[in-house]
Symmetry: C2
Subunit: 355 residues, 2 copies
DNA sequence: CTGTTAGCGCTTTCAA
DNA sequence: TTGAAAGCGCTAACAG
């Protein structure tokens, strides 16, 4: 391809200034009726036995002039928007970004669009987000709740709206929820650390988040397997999930145990960064035999100088499960407030082979 | 907060089964007219001097029963959707995820929603995405194009639609474009590598992407500053931007130069991963004096064993610029097919202090 | 096979 | 201050 040529289709000067774009306009221009044109446009020409010549004429016209079906009007008429809303704490979080990408693909393949909204982990923001989506008449909604009490329950609205919760399984919700098997992941992660080093600490974000609590439970039961008493003393938790919290918790862990742990797990990559920072400040560099563990994954973990184990969620599988649950509801299949569990994956870096 | 209590507002049994949710329903239920109710709901009670008692009655009713304005109907009537469409090659790319998050915030603050769509770097997918958005009647569109020729130009449509391009400035476009100053970033990155190591190679994705070509131009002019002849021989490029390409290019570079370079830059983190993999396969581990450079940034770069320099784009600044450009168009301010440039940031890891 | 009609819920305009 | 009417572009139902 030549660089520098004019590359974007410019407003075609041969094309009439006011391009017909609505069904009515096409009908008027071709001399057929709304209905006939609509049948052709919606691919129902066969079904309604539109004369081939008529169909060709209309299709030809559209090929020349283009048409854009106004789905706003369609939505109003059908009381169905073919749109799905997504409410997330933070799109910049890679897990949510991957989840969004996966959901988007599924939606598009089904002719739906995705409306993304962030709550910024703020219940008021979450309520605003839900309202925005409801006003837009979304047919369904996927919520990764940041508050245990969703402010505006979509039930009882004029239009019904399918709802699926994800990522955080607050108990007692009337909606189905799709989550990773956090307890199993916590167990498997801790199992590896303990088998290798005999001891480990867990640096966790807010314990009142169900996902965190489940991960801790897995960690604790692995501790039990290795006969570690007072496993609770190995868990450090914070209110927030960010780099500063990771730093703080690592400092706490070091202080309370009189030195660096031989292995640790963080409940997220943000905490993990903070923990590494704290170690860097204290030791200058990472002690080579420190075994690193974290929830979440990033390819760069591969290249850290130490051995690393991570627990990664399977965003595509989660998205598929969410989507199936959503479409089940949209097709009026029975919906229970069930808990759908998706398996995660444990990953280790190649450095394990070096030793 | 107690775990285990019922936490989501359940469908309130005291509330009538069919909650009035439309203006008409509220009007009928309260005995006032559409117009009166609408004035109250839209906060124009003052302006139209609605009787205080009337207003209170209506507000009270709404507080009890709730209301959700149907923006689908509103859009149809106003020929304005208060929605912005976003077309990206890939939401899972952290740069685009951050950009999306930033744009979303700006949109929400302005009462707009964001429709996200991915093209998967495929021109046909891009065309489908644009159509989807047009059908939805978005007021504006932000496109990070994957093809130099946008398939369905939104101009000439029934409703006008503001357009801003970003990330890739294909020449000759009739739309304004917002990009990072890639050439400057390439220059600054290369300048650091060359000052430190006297030599470097550039592993780049498809050269026909304007952003890549600009980065290379910056790299080459830094080479010029250091009197390196045959700078072009230090540039290796591929068709795709992925891990495999990075691996391949690093192998090529090693082969063509008879050994590992002393420093290198990759045009993206994906390529960077591939390059590190290739080195790992060859050497087992990274030579300590190898200086690493890459476009894109991730916090984990901080903890790699080697010295690292990265060029990071300023997603928030880009989003602000895009949004201003968009709102300018929406307010019918003059729009030129101008090129708006945002500065990037150079980052180095703390390991620089160790040596 | 093709055309006509009514109406989705909102906003705007005009009347009372 | 409040009410009534028209119409955005589409779809469904029915009429020819």
């Amino acid at each position: 391809m030549e660089l520098g040529e004019t590359v974007v289709t410019p407003p075609d000067p041969n094309r009439p200034a006011s391009t017909p774009m609505t069904l009515d306009e096409v009908a008027a221009a071709t001399g057929f009726s709304r209905t006939t044109v609509r049948f052709v446009v919606n691919g129902q020409a066969e079904r309604y036995r539109i004369k081939a010549q008529t169909r060709d004429q209309i299709e030809q016209f559209i090929r020349e002039h283009g048409i854009v079906i106004d789905r706003t009007a369609r939505s109003l008429r059908l009381q169905r928007s073919d749109a799905i809303g997504l409410v997330l704490p933070d799109l910049a979080n890679p897990f949510f970004a991957h989840l969004t990408a996966a959901l988007e693909d599924l939606c598009h393949a089904a002719g739906l669009v995705l409306l993304t909204t962030s709550s910024h982990d703020d219940p008021a923001g979450e309520a605003r987000a839900v309202t925005r989506l409801l006003e837009r008449g979304v047919d369904g909604m996927v919520i990764a709740p940041c508050s245990p009490r969703i402010a505006l329950p979509p039930s009882g609205g004029r239009r019904s709206c399918a709802v699926v919760m994800t990522d955080r399984a607050f108990p007692g919700q009337p909606y189905p929820v799709v989550v990773t098997d956090n307890e199993a992941a916590g167990y498997r992660l801790a199992d590896i650390l303990l088998a290798e080093r005999g001891d480990a600490v867990f640096l966790a974000a807010s314990r009142w988040l169900p996902s965190i609590e489940e991960r801790i439970r897995g960690f604790l039961s692995a501790c039990g397997k290795y006969g570690l008493d007072d496993a609770e003393a190995r868990v450090f938790s914070s209110e927030s999930d960010d780099v500063a919290a990771g730093r703080r918790l690592m400092e706490q862990a070091i202080a309370s145990r009189g030195g660096l742990p031989r292995a640790f797990v963080c409940s997220s990559l943000l905490m993990f960064e903070g923990a590494l920072q704290a170690i860097g400040v204290r030791n200058g560099r990472l002690p080579p035999d420190l075994l690193l563990g974290t929830f979440d994954h990033h390819p760069l973990l591969e290249f850290l100088p130490n051995r690393v184990v991570s627990a990664r969620q399977d965003e595509k599988a989660i998205a598929r499960t969410i989507f199936r649950c959503l479409t089940d509801q949209l097709k009026n299949r029975p919906v229970h407030a069930e808990r759908l569990v998706v398996e995660g994956h444990i990953w280790r870096n190649g450095n394990l082979d070096d030793k």
